[in-house]
Amino acid sequence: MIGERDIDRLYRELGHVVLRRARELLRSDTEARDALHEIFVGLLARPEQLDGVVKRTGWLYRVTTNHCLNQIRNRDGRERLLRSVPRDEETSPRGENLATVRGLLARLPSPLAEVAVYYYVDEMSQEEIAGMLGCSRRHVGDLLVRLAKWSKSDAVAYAK
């Protein structure tokens, strides 16, 4: 049975994965630290969530993504609370990709938002995304097509 010590060890070993990804998605060090805290305090409260989970990194990826997407969706009206991380990261190709994806996340419906994060931020393969979402590779392909169409129509609507 997973206990408090296991969660503490998991925090030390993989907390940086949660913090890094939360910072990338939320663009706020404060919010990212809150996300890190909430996710692991939640695990301390219910360690049974990890029962049967073999690859804990993947599990943390999923929980972090869902948590951050909820934060992003709730940001309307609370933007005064945001503090940015330095903007120099946006000058790299990866930084530019991140900025593009982040700009869409608040408007993207689920599960397109999750697919956008896994495919364009984490740069997973469709096979890996299928494993994360518990669906077929073909379904992931369909979602990526929908995502491409959505982002194209959103770009037009936004420009107007």
């Binding site: 503490d8 925090y11 030390r12 070993e13 993989l14 907390g15 940086h16 994965v17 913090l19 890094r20 404060t30 919010e31 630290r33 809150d34 890190l36 805290h37 909430e38 996710i39 692991f40 305090v41 939640g42 695990l43 301390l44 409260a45 219910r46 969530q49 073999v54 690859k55 804990r56 990194t57 993947g58 990826y61 929980v63 869902n66 948590h67 909820n70 934060q71 969706r73 709730n74 009206g77 609370r78 005064r80 609370l81 190709p93 990866r94 990709n97 593009t100 994806v101 869409l104 956008a116 495919y119 364009y120 984490d122 740069e123 997973m124 393969s125 890996e128 995502l147 491409a148 982002s151």
Partner: protein
């Protein structure tokens, strides 16, 4: 335009993190290392991830315990937050008696997000227009919750529509409430039931008479008062 820096044949951040964490099977590890040998981009990305881990990981992470309250909040997706449960069960009220409870073992808690950040709310809490309230419920068994309020002007609102809540401590309700400009004492009433309940008739009774109607079997109410000031 959406794009990637590495092809699908490359190693994702997830795969690289799994490699560093020692979570890959023998064959997965062999395949990953073989790819790293022959790719220009992935070793660079692995080095970047390793650098980030060195900068922010391990002992450099903030302490997991001893944090008094989250500074930001948002709906948790199936993740209960233990700190809310611990504080809502053991915190000493600062100004007023604990929430009144007509029967049952559930307990209402709430967080206040304002200009100075997020704090755990207590009965008699001073709040301001523009603050956001996020509610938690602790229940010994699966339950249904609706949260209503009656403000200083006698207006009654549904702060949180009826929702099913799993058993557990400090379960965050997904919708936060933005407080309006009406000042004065405000009563927040959580109606907690074994089965789904319509919130609107309760709100209407609260508006008309200042109190809830007799509740159905299997329901009880918990009330907490807040003070909204300029």
């Amino acid at each position: 335009m959406l794009s990637r820096t590495r092809s699908e044949d490359c190693l994702s951040d997830l795969r690289l993190d799994e490699l560093s964490a020692g979570e890959l099977t023998e064959s997965e590890r062999t395949e990953a290392l073989a790819h790293l040998d022959g790719c220009e981009l992935c070793p660079e990305r692995l080095a970047a991830l390793d650098g980030t881990r060195a900068r922010i990981g391990g002992s450099k992470l903030p302490p997991l315990r001893g944090r008094s309250a989250p500074r930001r909040w948002g709906p948790a997706l199936g993740v209960a937050v233990a700190v809310a449960a611990v504080v809502s069960f053991f915190v000493v009220p600062r100004r007023a008696p604990p929430p009144t409870r007509t029967k049952g073992v559930s307990q209402l808690g709430f967080f206040v997000t304002g200009a100075e950040g997020t704090r755990i709310g207590a009965p008699g809490e001073t709040v301001h227009p523009g603050d956001t309230l996020t509610f938690t419920v602790s229940a010994a068994a699966p339950t249904h919750v609706a949260i209503l309020s009656r403000d200083g002007a006698g207006k009654a609102s549904v702060y949180h529509p009826e929702i099913a809540v799993a058993a557990g401590r400090g379960t965050l309700l997904p919708t936060a409430t933005l407080l309006d400009g009406t000042l004065g004492s405000e009563r927040i009433v959580a109606v907690i039931c074994d089965a789904a309940v319509e919130a609107e008739p309760l709100r209407a009774a609260l508006a008309a008479r200042g109190e809830l109607p007799p509740l159905p079997e299997g329901c009880h109410a918990e009330t907490v008062t807040i003070e909204k000031v300029e």
